[in-house]
Subunit: 200 residues, 3 copies
């Protein structure tokens, strides 16, 4: 129940970030809706395709599609009045990130994937929507450049896999992993952390 609420909160935050990206790139109404929906549901959909779980979650329970469409629509028409939400959105996004990692990694473990595969599924769930958003907007994906975002997800996924191997109770493990991702991401924003580039 708590997980479902956080999942919807994260979905809404991701949809808003996608819609804003579309507006910045001067897309029309349809483009903004597509970017909102793809950013919010793309990661989990790709995860389900890779796991062979059809139809993907976004088509099984249409709540996610309706929610992302509604959020993208609101951002399209009211984005100037919603400007005050830009900053808090970063926090909601961080909460969504932690939730998506836990959902993705847990599901991959339940489907019998190995530890590395399960971590990658958590990272994919949390980040692939944003990658597709940036590819459609014709930009090098943000997370491949210079920010602690996907690496926070990888650390959370790793923690969950370790706790799972230690037979820690699943709700506790999920909580610890989600909290870790969200906390790392918030610290990264506050302190402008960045990953190194290759020595030149």
């Amino acid at each position: 129940m708590l997980l479902y609420s956080l999942d919807l909160l994260g979905t809404a935050a991701f949809a808003a970030s996608g819609a804003w990206a579309g507006i910045r790139r001067k897309m029309d109404l349809f483009g903004v809706l597509v970017l909102g929906v793809v950013t919010a549901t793309g990661g989990g959909t790709l995860r389900d395709i890779l796991l062979g779980d059809f139809p993907p979650f976004s088509f099984k329970d249409e709540t996610y599609l309706y929610l992302s469409l509604a959020v993208a629509l609101a951002v399209f028409f009211l984005h100037r009045r919603l400007e005050f939400l830009r900053h808090p959105l970063l926090y909601f996004d961080a909460v969504g990130l932690g939730t998506f990692v836990v959902i993705g990694t847990s599901k991959a473990l339940a489907f019998g994937l190995g530890p590395l595969g399960a971590i990658l599924m958590g990272v994919t769930t949390a980040t692939a929507g944003g990658v597709v958003r940036d590819v459609l907007a014709n930009q090098v994906p943000l997370i491949l450049r210079r920010e602690v975002y996907a690496s926070a997800c990888a650390i959370g996924g790793l923690l969950l896999v370790v706790l799972h191997a230690l037979a820690v109770s699943p709700p506790l493990a999920a909580l610890a992993a989600a909290f870790t991702v969200t906390a790392l991401r918030l610290l990264a924003i506050r302190n402008a952390w960045a990953l190194p580039r290759a020595p030149q």
Copy 2:
């Protein structure tokens, strides 16, 4: 039978538009063939992946692959002599659009998807090939910018879902939906209709 003919006509029109895009971007022979095939079969292939129907239609009946390859090859070698086809191509494209929406939405309903998912599958079938074409050509996809194209597909998909819920006879519903998409698209071309952008 009529549906199959229209489907092949649409496939050929989409393959030609993909091949022309490749030539404009100065791609080599292989690139032009890839863009032709991907534009023509990419949408239906993605739809079948999302529905979990393997192998996708394009690999079940290789007619679509041979047809797109042949069209792309002809455009590659004869594109100057085929220049007179550029304008009519827009009409064939519009007919393909209506056909693809009806095929995609009907198949999604048959696979048990909900109304919103079914509409999205119709839109995906008709537009995802063009999106991949533009991503490969390193451009923001045309349909996300400023044209009534995907929105005509969404309206046709919605109409089909409503007629299906009202238990209208399937062939009649399909005809009405396909006609609506094609007519909207042709009107949009003639009148240079465009969707609004977000208020700045």
Copy 3:
């Protein structure tokens, strides 16, 4: 056994080429790892999705993921000292190309695909990882522009399909096809072969 060794050699070569592309585009550590893994495993993963074989090979046997991560990590930290490998890398890449084509085409035939579909699956296995690498780096994919790369794969796939139809013993057919791809690719590098562009 030989095939598995060549497969791992090709995987390592592809991972290195992906990691180098990430460094050139000034990506951070995470971006370089993603480009390495995606370039090395993306083609086979897309092939398995299209064939409906879940989970894809890269998640069934995690060796490929660990190997690509290790290679990308090494390139990230040591790329200046590994500069002497840049030239030999082209040869390993050519060997990987031949191996991937044979694996992809054979698997597609085993899954009952038709001849054209099987050839396309061989080409996809060998080239889709590089296409995704270039799309993520925001460039028109190299293989769509001006080089004999994917076309060497298509010729090898065609040869394998023909030998299969003639009931030539599978190991012999595989060897002949892989050798053809690798030899064509090496000749293309040495002689700077390129495919034609469309007559303007």
